[in-house]
């Protein structure tokens, strides 16, 4: 069955983690869905690299954090925060591809 991430998550966000990294949090509404997504490894380096069209080597980590039924993905920031060419100094609006994400369970 196909699910939209925006339907099953209560929080989807992006933010700098220091000037050189960008980190994404997905917090699920309920434990069951979180567990299923975790078990099937829906979120992984390859999938995230494809979603953001970046090399897989730029994905620094995908961590499942049970206490918050959350998944955290951290990537290398395309440019350091505030460098020439910047469009989002805080990195707070880079989550939108995740909002359109659909996955099969």
């Amino acid at each position: 069955m196909k699910h939209k991430l925006i339907d099953v998550a209560s929080v989807i966000r992006s933010k700098n983690s220091g000037p050189y990294e960008l980190t994404f949090d997905v917090i699920f509404k309920d434990v069951e869905m979180y567990e299923k997504v975790k078990r099937r490894a829906i979120f992984n380096e390859k999938m995230f690299a494809e979603l953001y069209l970046i090399p897989e080597s730029e994905v620094m980590g995908v961590v499942h954090f049970d206490p918050a039924k959350a998944i955290k993905i951290t990537i290398v920031r395309p440019i350091p925060s505030g460098a020439l060419g910047e469009t989002d100094v805080y990195g707070a609006q880079q989550h939108s591809p995740l909002m359109k994400l659909e996955f099969e369970l």
Partner: protein, 476 residues
């Protein structure tokens, strides 16, 4: 002592807090009031320019409440990462506000000022000794990085704060700090578990952001006990839940299980989050894993140039469909126009909102759309921000102004509307943005003594005035 209580009035000094929440906090008889005043989030400009991203009046308002209340309760106030970035000018900026408050209110107290700005040569020596390593994805430090750096700060741990407390400081004004350290210093000094103290600080430094509903301008209270710590929001409209506290651990961090800081990392693998009453949460099980050697984090920026921008709207459908070609042609024209005039080294960018202007992955997502054969542009209107960065403000003005006039009258292929291509909302159309900085130092530096980088100066205020002898000593 079985419990150490910490009041965190607000997430960032100057973001404010309701008086009711602060008073609730004081009723709980805190042992210390601590507040974080900074962040690298607002970008490299503030560290470079020596300015704060918070407003002076807002900072003064918060301090004017916190300092007298703490002095009356005979507890210390600790301010970390003063002035937003914690370099010397930022600390001086906040020091000036504290002096004003002291004078206006005739306060008596001992102030400790702890600087965290490093001398370049001090860092160079460490670099040559091989004591500096990058924080990936930042690259290895070079001597050029150091030559170009405008301000370099190091993040202090709890040690300089403990030292200031031992010296009897009532108010401690600190430079760049690892945020949890200012909340944890008094507890660690009193023999509480370092892991729990730092983890509690990690949450308290954002005040009520970890509550539900979250707020960066409301207070939070922490009760550190021997086996864990309890968090309580101070406004009746907020609650801490196990989920809100656990979720906060994710915030702005790369890995929620391992939170590195000076001298070691917090390990959250064994943490439990348990509800207490209906608005409090108890956290247990945090571990501190020290690193073999003691490292502090360095932050530095370099001056890149000066920026001028011009903002303009577009709603011509022909122009919208050709916007990439048009900006490309204009860029070429600008380069060509000044190549023999001597302005060659500049950065010219067109940020096109309504067309992937926000995404940091712009190039990627555009090619994806092309591959998928999707419609490239869907917007009826675009906002174009012309940005020029050059060695001087005058050159940046020249490049931006020329790009603006060229874009305004550019005769692109298929043009129907021949009067002008841009809708300017403002006159003048161009704005000087001043100096531009970039982060160029984000490294770890090995230290033998966690105190040695962060010298403290003490000042006695009597009826709001500093003893003249001490003032001279400080100024020299």
């Amino acid at each position: 002592m079985d419990e150490l209580r910490v009041l965190s009035p607000t997430a960032i000094l100057g973001y404010g807090f309701p008086m009711e929440s602060f008073e609730e906090g004081m009723k709980r008889m805190p042992h210390v009031i601590a507040v974080d005043a900074g962040s690298t989030d607002p970008g490299p400009y503030y560290l470079g320019a020596g300015k704060s991203f918070t407003d002076n009046n807002s900072v003064k308002r918060d301090l004017e409440i916190m300092i007298p209340a703490a002095l009356e309760a005979n507890i210390p106030v600790i301010i970390g990462t003063a002035g937003g970035s914690g370099a010397r000018p930022h600390v001086e900026l906040t020091l000036k506000l504290i002096k004003e408050i002291a004078l206006q209110k005739g306060l008596n107290f001992k102030l400790a000022v702890i600087h965290s700005e490093l001398d370049k040569e001090q860092v160079r020596k460490k670099l040559r000794e091989g004591d500096i390593k990058p924080l990936p994805p930042a690259k290895e430090m070079t001597e050029k990085n150091l030559d170009e750096a405008v301000h370099i700060v190091a993040q202090m741990g709890e040690e300089p704060y403990i030292h200031a407390l031992e010296e009897g400081a009532d108010v401690i004004l600190g430079g760049r700090s690892y945020d949890p350290s200012l909340f944890a210093a008094l507890a660690i000094k009193n023999g509480f578990d370092k892991a729990l103290a730092l983890h509690m600080g990690k949450i308290l430094e954002c005040a009520a952001i970890a509550a539900l509903p979250g707020s960066g301008s409301d207070s939070m209270f922490g009760y550190l006990q021997r086996d864990g710590f309890i968090l309580e929001p101070l406004s009746p409209v907020r609650k801490c839940t196990p989920l809100s506290i656990a979720a906060h651990t994710l915030y702005e961090k790369s890995n929620p299980y391992i939170l590195p800081g000076p001298g070691g990392a917090l390990d959250l693998h064994a943490c439990t989050f348990t509800p207490v009453d209906d608005n409090k949460v108890k956290v247990c099980g945090t571990k501190f894993v020290p690193t073999e050697e003691y490292f502090v984090k360095l932050e530095g920026v370099r001056h890149v140039g000066f920026r001028t921008i011009s903002c303009a709207g577009v709603m011509d459908p022909v122009m919208i469909s050709k916007i990439d070609e048009i900006t490309h042609e204009v860029k070429k024209r600008v380069e060509n126009n000044f190549v023999n005039y001597g302005i060659r080294d500049f950065f010219l960018d067109f940020k096109v909102y309504g067309r992937n202007g926000v995404s940091l992955f712009e190039k990627n997502s555009k090619s994806e759309r092309t591959v998928k054969g999707e419609e490239e542009y869907k917007s009826d209107e675009l906002l174009v921000i012309i940005e020029a960065v050059a060695d001087t403000q005058e050159q940046a003005n020249t490049i931006c102004g020329f790009a603006r006039s060229t874009l305004l009258h550019h005769g692109y292929e298929g043009r129907v509307a021949t009067a002008g291509n841009l809708a300017f909302p403002f006159s003048p159309s161009d704005a000087e943005m001043g100096k531009v900085f970039e982060f160029n130092i984000y490294h770890l530096m090995k230290m033998d003594d966690p105190l040695s980088l962060f010298p403290a100066t003490f000042m006695e205020f009597s009826h709001g005035e500093i003893n003249q002898k001490q003032r001279n000593e400080y100024e020299t």
